[in-house]
Symmetry: C2
Subunit: 433 residues, 2 copies
């Protein structure tokens, strides 16, 4: 939960969580250091909610949300943000789609008016949709289809998640993006863009009462849809095999290696399980201090980089990745062996008290430092709530990390990092081509 | 199309294909050798049409179709077939579900009455559905979950088809079978069991006019639904990587190896492409005479068995598999190398005329011999029509095979058997366990 669930430092923000009558949840995070606000709306739908054959629709709709409404012409919202000296952006993940603006505090209501307006007022014509589809097609071509590492990442995800939609690319498969129509975007919009499915997160130089009053005057006018939209999420079956995905391409300059496992998320884990994985990943993968770096980059000099990543904030069973970049002359097989030796050691021997203490301190400290950024703070709460955690889960996270002991870490390594259930990804230079 | 599309030998059956007013298609295959009929109903839906999270429902419904209707108590249909000295069965595939009976010719109308009755009259209660679900759960446990080869097959399919539902097991994932409810079965039944979605195939000692008259008196009374049900079939993206699936289990006595590729089916192929693959598979994989057998089992003695299989009869892009079982002392890697050498040779050099001639003769002869069995004959037409081919495609199939030349075979090998797009499956004994 390194970028998601963190506590306020003592004396830190007094966070409120209320729900409007139409079902819109509101999280207010007072932050009076500067007279600005971060205004975010999170929708509980992402690429894993794309209907069959319509992969990419969540992301495509994110683009289309900037195309204007019945009240405001295309680009007007962005122009206003710019004119007010603000910043804006949006992003789509597997589980959520979010929109945010950062403006001076007195413009909060204006942001709310625009954002509430586009929750229901979006207007799409083929003249708007068709060229934007070309933009997304070009985005996919640039970011994925000409980048062997991205292509391998896509194949690796599809192999790890054979049934659950986390295996689909967020941007969508090219042949399905090409077929996305105006009506697909509107159907998806009508299904998911409702007050019951949204979370408003406001961080900044504001009070709870002020935010709730303004939200009620803007978002509060949107009629409730009646019920939350349903997410159709088939469960990934337990894997029974080892899988290796190899991509060889002449464009590859630097071979690399990934090891991936299914792993419980905070939402699916039993108590303490995700926290133990978080500490485990910190122990093995922390930049500069983790065991993979110390043993393989420093001591053995078989890698130029090595680390780990755990997608802890997710609605469903998620993933844990370990990666390594070999030194010239070291094969991927040899590096994989050395990585597995480091992981096996974690499973075989309990971690020593000092090393565990330092890892937990770093993990919590990183989270607290990230709160320096108002937008990180807002994202932390937004992503947690959008994936099924609570404000309280976020606030008590440091204590939960504190309770992780050596036994829990060892058990997490034994349970999760099973090489009989592992998916490896090899990125290689195609010398023949 | 080895078990599916074959021509009648000259002077053979004069096959009719008509459609009733309610949309039911009828194929009549006169076969006057014995006074029996094979009566089959094919529905154009299989496991690849299982809704998200409901894998196994097509197969489960096949079981439930024997549970009685408003008119006939559970088991009555089967009892009548037995009392008449007949046989019956049913099967579910990725693309279709079929029910058949073989009885003396005078009982054809009785079969039609029962089968037409259960097209719309199925009655399901929880008391019927719940124990039958346990039967299916036990079937899965026996056939898949305790058989490492079956488990590997499932993992291999899921890796080959990451997006298209051919990657799902026909019987369903255990955790989803466990959740299948009476209402799921009825929803699926109402969606797909309609005259517009069915094909009646009658082979035997009957005339077209008689069959059509009887069908009209029975099936003809079923009201049309108004339109054919829609199949939601996302297209599998073109693979960009090599994937290997390894399953090691202490129960494995005999290691084995599979190589799998996506391959066009008769329905998706360009003209001649599937026929060339059919001939290619015959050349490399035919039992006792194919190159894999001759080179690897006979000459090099590295395998105890080796062959190939092509699922040519399918609605969507399908699969081609090559397999090998190593001799003791030969590793799977070594056997894979030797298999790839045989395949590379097919891609590099055109096949010699005599070898090609013999392969095509065997292929067509096998198809003609299979017509000796009335039920094979009926299945051939049923599976073809249920996956998008026509009666004419089946009848002209031998001529289409005749046109395959050495160049087409070589091109098929080059295009399909690309090792950069290959999925391999390794079944190994887990010595450590």
């Amino acid at each position: 939960m390194s970028d998601a669930l963190k506590d306020a430092p003592s004396g830190g923000p007094d966070i409120s969580h209320v729900t409007l009558k139409n079902g819109l949840e509101i999280v207010v995070i007072p932050d009076h250091r500067t007279p600005v606000v971060t205004h975010m709306v999170w929708y509980r739908n992402g690429s894993a909610d794309d209907p069959i054959g319509k992969s990419g629709i969540a992301h495509f709709l994110e683009h289309l949300m900037f195309k204007g409404t019945e009240k405001h012409r295309q680009g007007e919202f962005s122009d206003v943000v710019t004119a007010l000296g603000g910043q804006e952006n949006a992003f789509t993940s597997v589980d959520y789609t979010a929109y945010y603006q950062r403006v001076a505090r007195e413009h909060l209501k204006t942001m709310m008016e625009f954002e509430a307006d586009r929750m229901t007022g979006l207007v799409l014509t083929d003249e708007i949709v068709d060229p934007e589809r070309d933009v997304v097609i070009e985005e996919r071509r640039m970011r994925t289809d000409t980048d062997p590492a991205a292509e391998l990442g896509e194949a690796l995800a599809a192999t790890l998640f054979t049934h659950h939609p986390y295996g689909k690319p967020i941007i969508g498969y090219m042949h399905e993006i090409e077929g996305l129509k105006r009506e697909d975007a509107l159907n998806y919009y009508r299904r998911f863009y409702t007050p019951e499915n949204a979370i408003l997160v406001v961080a900044g130089d504001v009070s709870k009462d002020e935010v709730v009053r303004l939200a009620d005057e803007t978002y509060g006018k949107i009629a409730a849809r009646g019920e939350k939209p349903v997410r159709l999420r088939p469960r990934e079956p337990d894997p029974r095999s080892t899988r290796r995905v190899t991509l060889a391409d002449p464009k590859v300059e630097q071979p690399s290696l990934q090891l991936a496992w299914l792993a419980p998320s905070y939402t699916t884990a039993t108590k303490g399980e995700a926290e133990a994985l978080e500490v485990l990943v910190q122990l093995i993968g922390a930049s500069g201090t983790g065991r993979l770096h110390r043993k393989l980059v420093m001591d053995e000099a078989v890698a130029v980089a090595a680390g780990a990543w755990y997608q802890s904030t997710a609605v469903d069973r998620s993933r844990l990745l370990v990666y390594g970049v070999p030194r010239p002359g070291v094969t991927l097989e040899a590096l994989e062996d050395r990585i597995l030796a480091v992981l096996d050691d974690m499973a075989k021997h309990p971690v020593e008290a000092g090393e565990l203490r330092r890892a937990k301190t770093r993990l919590v400290a990183d989270a607290i430092y990230a709160q320096d950024s108002q937008s990180s703070l807002a994202r932390m709460y937004g992503s947690a709530l959008a994936t099924g955690s609570t404000v309280d889960d976020v606030k008590t996270w440091p204590e939960a990390i504190e309770t992780v002991d050596a036994e829990a870490v060892q058990k997490a390594a034994q349970t999760c990092l099973n090489r009989h259930r592992m998916v490896t990804g090899y990125l290689m230079k195609d010398e023949a081509a």
